[in-house]
């Protein structure tokens, strides 16, 4: 079937490309056509069909020559947070309007070096700050899933909302995402796809617009666990341009997918059983636990006592780092500069530029970060949060030292909610979306969201697995077992 090549997984497309059954040009055209018909999702915000066609032709030549890495010829979407040479890279912010980098992020360069094809840039929350893709200067991305026959537009989650919507709607075979507090895993769960945040330091952060440097990691958003393994391997690796990128070998993650988890210890943390947790989330979690047990894993109850302090610690550390990272947007070197009135000096230029260029949520976080770092409050807020972060990491170290191999939790506290539904809630209510994911960033661990079921309204729900540092292979294998057992095959009905 030539008409639905865009629905293939990376693994399927790779095998067909190598067998000569399809060309990258055909895959790319199928995706470009799907993108053109999906304006209502507002997932792709800068299309790059010319680059895509040229890269596809090069990939086809490479495949014909017998030199084809797994990602060769695979059409991808790239989150707008990644700097892509000569292509708008705005981090979904008005302050970077018109910015076209003169350089390419290390992660995207590695994908192009492996022969992947860039279809365009994907919508997201502004500077990756948000959990619903509602803070974007491009407007909301829309979830391809709906509640039964109800046409209320739902959020694809955030911040990688465009990436999630694009993959779930088969506009691309896979997409890049980034995750600072849950920005890959929460949107993956909201859209019924797979998303992994690797160990901090696995992927180079060079050329990715910085939000909170000690928490940010890139990762793949894909249609299957196998695809996540294939694409993650291409994205990882040491980069001299990022001093925090780990100089350790990248294993063959796909080879780790044996499907055998007999004897592995899976921890179920009691602190993740939140008061008021919806029954369907509770059931999903219990079902997932049973699936891993049936596959031969040993289930153990564990405690991560500082879990409840992860969100407040995150909402000190992330804004503090953001206020520092976003100081560079001053109207001097790139992006927007405000029109100045007669007599305005450089301070007015900074203040007006940043007031016009940053959206409300970004301004709020920059100012909270400024406050917690300001003289007199640095110890009370910032240093205290960093100490609590040490304790959160120690919680995980203790359970891993006790023999636990992976931890199973829900990915999100609910299914996707309606766009605008959280409009009148206070900011903390929106932050609660990250309650199950943010601990993983604070501890620098790998975490993966896998679609595992549907809620009573027909919306996808995801489970999260958390692994030991640098053990993405083992984590992916456990996720693979969960994926096979859950047998999640549902797709959103096409309405767009």
């Amino acid at each position: 079937m030539m008409s639905d090549l865009n629905t293939l997984t990376i693994a399927e497309a790779r095998d067909k490309l190598r067998a000569g059954e399809v060309t990258s040009a055909e895959l790319t055209e199928a995706c470009l056509a799907a993108i053109e018909g999906a304006g209502a999702l507002n997932a792709f915000v800068h299309d790059t069909p010319e680059i895509a066609r040229a890269q596809a032709a090069a990939a086809d030549a490479r495949i014909r020559a017998g030199d084809a890495p797994s990602m060769c010829g695979i059409p991808l979407g790239i989150k707008d947070l990644f700097c892509t040479k000569g292509v708008p890279s705005q981090a979904a912010s008005a302050i970077l309007a018109g910015f076209k980098p003169e350089y390419e992020s290390t992660v995207s360069q590695q994908l192009w070096d492996a022969g992947a094809v860039m279809l365009g840039k994907l919508n997201m929350d502004e500077f990756a700050m948000g959990s619903s893709n509602e803070t974007s200067t491009y407007g909301n991305a829309v979830n391809p899933w709906r509640r039964g026959n109800d046409d209320t537009p739902l959020t694809p989650g955030g911040s990688s909302g465009g990436s999630a919507a694009a993959v779930a709607a088969d506009l691309c075979l896979a997409a890049t995402g980034t995750d600072t507090g849950g920005s890959i895993r929460q949107p993956a769960a909201f859209t019924g796809i797979t998303g992994i945040k690797p160990t901090y330091g696995r992927c180079s952060r060079w050329g990715i617009v910085a939000f909170a440097s000690s928490l940010d990691q890139a990762g793949p958003m894909t249609k299957s666990v196998r695809d996540a393994a294939i694409m993650l391997e291409a994205m990882c690796g040491h980069d001299p341009k990022d001093s925090t990128s780990a100089d350790i070998p990248v294993p063959n993650f796909e080879a780790a997918l044996t499907g055998d988890i007999r004897g592995k210890k899976i921890g179920i943390p009691k602190e993740y059983r939140m008061e008021g947790m919806p029954a369907e989330i509770e059931k999903l979690w219990a079902d997932g636990t049973a699936m891993l047990k049936d596959a031969g894993a040993e289930i153990v109850d564990i405690s991560l006592p500082h879990t409840k302090y992860a969100l407040p610690a995150y909402y000190v550390i992330a804004p503090a780092e953001a206020s520092s990272n976003l100081a560079r947007y001053d109207g001097v070197r790139y992006g927007h500069r405000a029109k100045l009135a007669a007599g305005d000096g450089i301070t007015e230029m900074y203040e007006k530029t940043r007031a016009e260029g940053f959206g409300h949520e970004v301004q709020r976080r920059v100012m909270v970060g400024t406050y917690v770092l300001s003289a007199g409050f640095y110890d009370a807020y910032y240093n205290r949060a960093r100490k609590v972060r040490t304790l959160i990491k120690k919680d995980f170290e203790d359970v891993f030292a006790a023999g636990v191999d992976a931890i199973l939790t829900p990915a999100t506290p609910s299914a996707a909610f309606g766009l605008g539904e959280m409009k009148d809630a206070d900011p903390v209510q929106m932050y609660l979306n990250d309650v199950f994911t943010v601990t993983v960033n604070l501890a620098g661990l790998p975490g993966i969201a896998v679609p595992a079921g549907l809620d009573p309204q027909g919306l996808p729900l995801g489970l999260q697995l958390i692994g030991k540092p640098w053990e993405e292979g083992e984590l992916l294998n456990t996720a693979y077992v969960l994926e096979q057992a859950a047998g999640f095959v549902s797709k959103p009905g096409k309405w767009w």
């Binding site: 920059v366 406050y371 960093r386």
Partner: protein, 95 residues
């Protein structure tokens, strides 16, 4: 800890973000909601705990202190809102 409009104005100034006076009360209220949430951290006993500096224990690499990339003034200035004669241009800074 409660933030008043004066503190909100000071924080906005430090962050170099222009906030109209009329928007300050709402901003102060938002800060208070967020800080109220953050204050849960005071329940934790952090006595003797080291603040985290690096989430993955690693020694940062060093390199020779030499120019690695240079001579690309055009590229550096290419995205500037105002560049003249090989420089970034800004409003007059010195009286």
């Amino acid at each position: 800890m409660s933030i008043d409009t004066e503190t909100a104005a000071r924080v906005a100034k430090l962050a170099r973000i222009k906030v109209e006076d009329s928007a300050l009360p709402a901003l102060a209220e938002e800060f208070n909601t967020i800080l109220g949430f953050i204050e849960e951290l005071n329940e934790v006993d952090v006595e003797g705990v080291e603040p985290m500096t690096s989430v993955t224990p690693m020694r940062l690499k060093r390199r020779a202190d030499v120019v690695t990339e240079g001579d690309q003034q055009d590229k550096i200035l290419a995205n500037a809102p105002d560049a003249r004669e090989g420089f970034f241009a800004v409003p007059k800074v010195v009286e």
